[in-house]
Symmetry: C2
Subunit: 321 residues, 2 copies
Amino acid sequence: MQSFEVLAEQFSKFFSRRHFPAQPASLYDPNEYFLHQGGKRIRPVLCLMGNEMFDDIKVDAWHVGTSIELFHNFTLIHDDIMDKAPVRRGKETVHEKFGTNTAILAGDVMLVSAYEELNKIGLEFLRPILTLFNKTAKEVCEGQQMDMDFEKMESVSFEAYIKMIELKTSVALAASLQTGAILGGAGERNQHLLYEFGRKLGIAFQVQDDYLDAFGDPAKFGKQMGGDILANKKTFLLIHTLETAAAAKQIELKKLLQSNTADKIEKVQQLYKDCNADKWALQLKQQYLEEALKHLEDIAVLSKRKEPLRSLAHYLIRREY
Amino acid sequence: MQSFEVLAEQFSKFFSRRHFPAQPASLYDPNEYFLHQGGKRIRPVLCLMGNEMFDDIKVDAWHVGTSIELFHNFTLIHDDIMDKAPVRRGKETVHEKFGTNTAILAGDVMLVSAYEELNKIGLEFLRPILTLFNKTAKEVCEGQQMDMDFEKMESVSFEAYIKMIELKTSVALAASLQTGAILGGAGERNQHLLYEFGRKLGIAFQVQDDYLDAFGDPAKFGKQMGGDILANKKTFLLIHTLETAAAAKQIELKKLLQSNTADKIEKVQQLYKDCNADKWALQLKQQYLEEALKHLEDIAVLSKRKEPLRSLAHYLIRREY
C-alpha cells in the first residue's frame, strides 16, 4: 500500500517521456510542450490507488493512468481556448503560444492518443474500461458546456451548479478510481462505492476551492484572492447567497456585482460573512467529505488498504479552514 | 453484392436517427443540426462494401460505419473552425451558427461518441479495429496540420503535397474499407490490398478535384470554377507547374499569384495549359486509378465480388475528363 505522494512521484517519472512522434513537429511539439509543464497527475495516481486497494498494481494501470492524464490535458488545452486563458501552470497556454487552430488540432490528437494508450490494456479489461472512459469523457464535455452556459445566465440554481461541478470535475476523479478498481478485480459494489467516494470528494474539493478564493490566505495558497469575486464567477458562495439571503442583502449583492470599485472584493466578502455563507460553505464541504469517507469505509476490504485514500482525502480537504 | 447506391441509401436511412442525448441541448443540438444536413456517407458505405466483398454484412459493420461517419463529421466541424468556413452543405457551419466554443466542444463530444459506437462491436474485432481507427484518426489530424502549414509556406514539394493528401483524405477511405474487410474475415494480405485500393483511389480523386476546380464545367459540377486559383491554394496543378515549368513561365505564374485582376483565373488556366499541366493531371489521375484497380484485382476473391467497388471507382473517377 503506497501513499499518494510515493505513487505520484513514480507516475510523474513514468509519464515524463515523449508521447508523440517527431513529425509533424508543428502538431506534436505543442503537445509535448504542454505535457512537460507538469501538473499534479492526481487522476492517474487515483487509478493506481484504486487498483492497489484490491490487488498489486497491474502494468495495465500505468497505461490507463497515462490515458487518463492525456485525456485531462486534452480538456485543459481546449478549455483554455474557450476561456481565452493566456497562462496555465505559469506558462503560456497552447493557443497563446502556437495559435488557436493548432491548439484545437493538438487537443484532438491528444484525445486520440488517450484512446491509443487505452488500447494497450488486456482484452479482458478493454470493454468495461472503454465504456467507463467514454461515459466519463462525454460527461466532462457536458460539464464544460454547462459551465459556459452558466456564464451567460442571470442566475443558476444550487442544484444546477452541483450538477455542473459533478460533470466537469468530480466524475473524472471518480472514474479514475473506478478504472483502478476494475483492474484490481473489485466487484461491482466495491467499484460503485469507490466511484461515489471520488464523486463526493470532488464536490468537497470544489466547495473548498470556491471558499479559498474568497477567504483563503493568499500567502499559503499562491493564488490571487478574490479572483472569482472580481469576475462575478458563479461559485457556491454566490449562488447560495443569492438563493437564501434576505431580500435586502440580495439587492446589495446584485449591486456589488455590477460595480467594479476597488473595494469590491472586501465588500462582497463582508456580505458573505453577514449572511453566514462562509460558515455554510465550510459545513457543506465537511458534509461532502464525510459522505465520501462513509463510502470509503463501506468498501469491503481491510481497513488498512483504505489508509492511503483516507489520508489523501484529509490532505486534499484541509481541516484547518 | 450490393452497389454503392443501394448501400448508401440504406446507410443514410439507418444513420438518420438522433445520435445524442437531449440535454444539455446547447451542446448536443448543434451536433444533431450538423449530422442532419446529410452528406454522401461515402466512408461508412466503404466499410459495408469492404465487409460484403468477403462475407455477408455483419451488424457490427453498421456500428463501425456509424463510428466512421461520426468521426468524419467531427473533423468537418473542427476543420470549418480552422478554415473560418461560413457555409457547409449549403447551411451555416456549426461555429458560425452556435459560436466557436460550442463548435470545439460539440466536435470533441462527437469524437467521443465515435468511440462509444465502436465499443458496441464484438470483442473479437474490438482490438484490431480500434487500432486501425486510432492510427487513422491521428493521420487525419496530421494531414490537417500539414495542410495548414502549407498555407503559410512559399513552396511545397510534390512529394509533401501527396503525403498531405494521403493523410488528410486517403487513409480514411482506405481504413474504412479495411475495417469492413476485417469484419468480413479477410486475411491480412487481402486487407492490405483493399487498403491500398482505397489509398490510391483517394489520391486519384483529389487530383480530379484539383483539375475540375481549374478546368471543370461549372454547370455540371455545381461548384464555382477557379476558386483554388483565386485563393492561391496549393493544388496538384500549381505545385507541378512551379516545379517543372520553364523559368519564364514560373516567373509569370508567381506574378499572377500576387495579382487579383479580373482575368486571373483565365490567365492561370492558360498558363497551366501552356505548360501541359492539364494533360499531366489527367495522366496522374489515370495512373493512380489504374494502380488502385490493380490492387483491387489482386485481392483473392471471385471477380464478381469486386464489381461494386470497381463500379464505384469508375463512377468517382470519371473518364470523360
